[in-house]
């Protein structure tokens, strides 16, 4: 009995004194969609710790994307830095200018690591790559898709399984789908594209479809005043002003989902992040399609990437690599996609049994993936906040009829040139 007690005591002592110091990883992450996702992230961190003794992970929920960036940078200045963080994919140039991040290529040196860097969809890597080095590992990423109300299509004699594939088709279908009451007031619009909050993002889709990206890969030049880009804004304006299939003025991002699920618009453009919410609230069958094409199909990507901060020790960088690799395995990318509606970040995630089963019951979930081959980087430049606001204001001025698309975009381009000149 006495010896058993001694043995127990010895065991307790051994457990209390670890052989070596743990490597601690702190990371901030934002949440921009609904659901109890903090629990999911905490659970993932605990699972990782179990498999990797010697590494402790402290995930810290930091609000929306702007809050997360502000908090991560403030922690850095205060000397309590995070080692890694999930931040907005388009914060890249801001973080580079602050000189606070290092490329993953620096730590991903083995053949296995290098293969990992190549495992993601190329279009998701665009916002994370600068001068050939990878700074952002895609984690929670989305694109814009077209939602359509199949009942409304049936009601006006359109094929409910055939969404518009081109701008012309969208205009024609939308014209048929507009419904008016006896007094001539519109009770259902043909299509709605939100224009508050993420105005530039929606516009990128129009511009890309009309053949153009809005900035160069170096992030020091914008292409707002190209004739194709102006034509793209003209089309967006015309949907309301000329074809009268969309309300005039700006359309609120936050209430558009309700407008669609209440049947006030037959089609809408929105983020894939809304998929689960629409699925839960729509009382009619709905479809999800790629955005229509003008010269080509196209949509920007969006969302958050993993960044690694400069103020880290060699051990911390190694641990960070292990953690981020673990977080982005095909199985976890698949599970994260199902939990959120985000795109699974790598092709092999869609080959996992879990995501295959999910897609069989809910085919709308893979539309975003299919669209990735037409996708482009989200608008991101040096001085990104200012440049983005210039474009937002220009688009809203055009949509509300205060300026012509050409005048608005040319003014925005001139101002963006002034801001970006020092970076060329």
């Amino acid at each position: 009995m006495r010896s058993l007690f001694a043995l127990l005591l010895a065991g307790l002592l051994a457990a209390a004194a670890p052989a070596r110091a743990d490597t601690e990883l702190t990371f901030y992450y934002p949440i921009a969609v609904g659901g109890p996702l903090t629990k999911v992230i905490d659970g993932l961190a605990r699972d990782f710790e179990k498999e990797h003794p010697g590494i402790k992970v402290h995930p810290i929920y930091a609000g929306n994307y702007d809050d997360a960036r502000i908090k991560a940078l403030a922690a850095l200045k205060a000397g309590q830095p995070a080692q890694i963080s999930v931040l907005y994919s388009i914060d890249l140039y801001e973080l580079l200018e602050q000189d606070v991040i290092v490329p993953w290529d620096d730590v991903a040196t083995t053949a296995d690591d290098k293969a990992w860097l190549k495992a993601f969809y190329p279009s998701l890597m665009m916002n994370g790559t600068y001068k050939g080095k990878v700074y952002g590992i895609p984690f929670q990423r989305s694109t814009i898709v077209l939602f359509w109300n199949k009942d409304a299509f049936k009601e006006v004699g359109l094929d409910p399984e055939k969404p518009p594939a081109t701008w012309n088709e969208m205009t024609q279908m939308a014209t048929k789908l507009v419904k008016r009451d006896a007094a001539g007031n519109v009770v259902r619009w043909g299509v709605m594209v939100p224009s508050t909050g993420y105005t530039y993002w929606m516009f990128q889709a129009f511009a890309r479809q009309n053949g153009h990206d809005l900035m160069n890969p170096e992030g020091n030049r914008t292409i707002f005043a190209d004739p194709d880009v102006i034509a793209a804004l003209q089309y967006w304006r015309d949907l309301g002003a000329k074809y009268r299939v969309m309300p005039e003025g700006t359309i609120e991002w936050g209430t558009l989902r309700q407008a669609f699920t209440e049947g006030k618009t037959a089609m809408m453009w929105h983020t894939t992040g809304n998929l689960t919410a629409v699925k839960d609230t729509a009382k009619f069958p709905f479809g999800v399609a790629m955005l229509p094409a003008s010269k080509q199909r196209g949509s920007p990507t969006g969302g958050g990437n993993f960044y690694m901060f400069k103020k880290t020790t060699r051990e911390e960088r190694k641990a960070a690599l292990a953690f981020v690799k673990w977080m982005t395995t095909p199985e976890r990318a698949a599970a994260w996609s199902i939990a959120t509606g985000y795109v699974a970040t790598r092709p092999d995630a869609y080959e996992t049994p879990k995501l295959k089963d999910y897609a069989r019951d809910f085919p709308q979930a893979v539309v975003a993936r299919d669209q990735l081959k037409y996708a482009t980087a989200e608008l991101s430049t040096f001085q990104t906040g200012r440049v983005r606001k210039l474009l937002d204001d220009a688009i809203q001025a055009a949509l509300t009829g205060q300026k012509t698309p050409a005048a608005a975009l040319q003014a925005a381009q001139a101002e963006a040139d002034r801001l970006l000149k020092p970076y060329r």
């Binding site: 702007d66 502000i70 801001e94 200018e97 602050q98 000189d99 606070v100 007094a183 001539g184 007031n185 519109v186 009770v187 224009s195 508050t196 909050g197 105005t199 309300p247 005039e248 003025g249 700006t250 359309i251 609120e252 936050g254 209430t255 309700q258 407008a259 209440e262 006030k264 001085q383 906040g385 200012r386 606001k389 937002d392 204001d393 220009a394 809203q396 001025a397 949509l399 509300t400 205060q402």
Partner: protein, 287 residues
């Protein structure tokens, strides 16, 4: 010795005031004379460079104009409504406590929650405003998406929220008025309106000054609703000065320019407060 004791009593409050009010204000002023530093290009002294930028910034003039309209649109109306409501619920009427509470409820709600509710009021077609108008066959209107109506929509919401708050002050002031005055006025045969204009309103002047100062400050400092309702859009039609400062500081990371804007806001508010206190106070008290 007495001095030391006095200073000791003062210290806690002084530390808080200096640390959280006066030092930041002074630091803001200093920062406004420097450029924004990054790791690549460190901050340097540029004199009035930021102020020159400000004078040429069309968005600054736009939001300043918006803010003045916003103040003009909200302050007089909410004060008038507050007096009206206070006089009414000061009378003896059934379920008086309930009515008072109803008027006060908007004040208790957080601005973010209020903005989320009003967002759905103003939503075209499915919103309360449009559904009500539809009863009379009026077409739906894109209230927040039209630069012509968006600022007015925000004003209505803020008046709704603020008037109840100011009512409380007037109610307290009314209850401290001596009842003899009203009796005397009745005996003299003064009409209700005459009594209000000649007796009650002048006696309420100190409260009006207090409310006026508060309302002015609020009209420059309340921007929570913009985050939910419009984000300053469309094309800055509903943006206010403080919201623009937030965008410059935390979305553009231009801390120096944000400091410059803040100095302007501080100067503006200090100037308004001085005018209110010194000029208006001379005629505030009933003699």
């Amino acid at each position: 010795m007495k001095h030391v004791y006095g200073w000791l009593l003062l210290t806690p409050a002084a530390i808080l005031l200096v640390g959280f009010t006066h030092y930041p204000a002074a630091a803001t002023l200093v920062d406004s004379f420097f450029s924004t530093g990054t790791a690549i290009r460190p901050s340097r002294f540029i004199g009035f460079g930021n102020y020159a930028l400000l004078a040429e910034d069309p968005i600054f003039w736009k939001v300043l104009g918006n803010n003045l309209w916003f103040a003009l649109g909200t302050i007089p109306t909410s004060i008038a409504l507050a007096i009206l409501m206070a006089v009414w619920v000061n009378d003896r009427l059934p379920a008086r406590a309930l009515v008072r509470m109803a008027y006060f409820t908007p004040t208790v709600l957080p601005m973010i929650a209020v903005a989320n509710i009003w967002l759905f009021f103003y939503t075209p077609q499915i919103g309360l405003v449009d559904q009500f108008r539809a009863l009379f066959g009026a077409p739906s209107h894109n209230w927040l998406g039209d630069p012509g109506t968006v600022l007015a929509c925000l004003m209505v919401m803020v008046i709704w929220k603020e008037a109840g708050f100011f009512m409380i002050f007037y109610l307290a002031a009314l209850q401290s008025l001596p009842p003899e005055l009203e009796e005397a006025a009745k005996i003299e045969g003064a009409s209700r309106w005459h009594f209000f204009r000649r007796v009650m309103f002048p006696l309420l002047m100190p409260t009006t000054l207090f409310v006026l100062v508060n309302a002015t400050i609020n009209s420059f400092k309340l921007v929570d609703h913009l985050f939910i309702l419009t984000k300053g859009g469309p094309d800055n039609a509903s943006s206010l000065l403080l919201y623009y400062i937030y965008q410059v500081a935390f979305s553009f990371f231009d801390t120096a320019y944000a400091s410059t804007l803040t100095v302007v806001l501080l100067a503006l508010l200090a100037g308004l407060a001085l005018v209110q206190f010194h000029l208006v106070e001379k005629r505030v008290h009933y003699r």
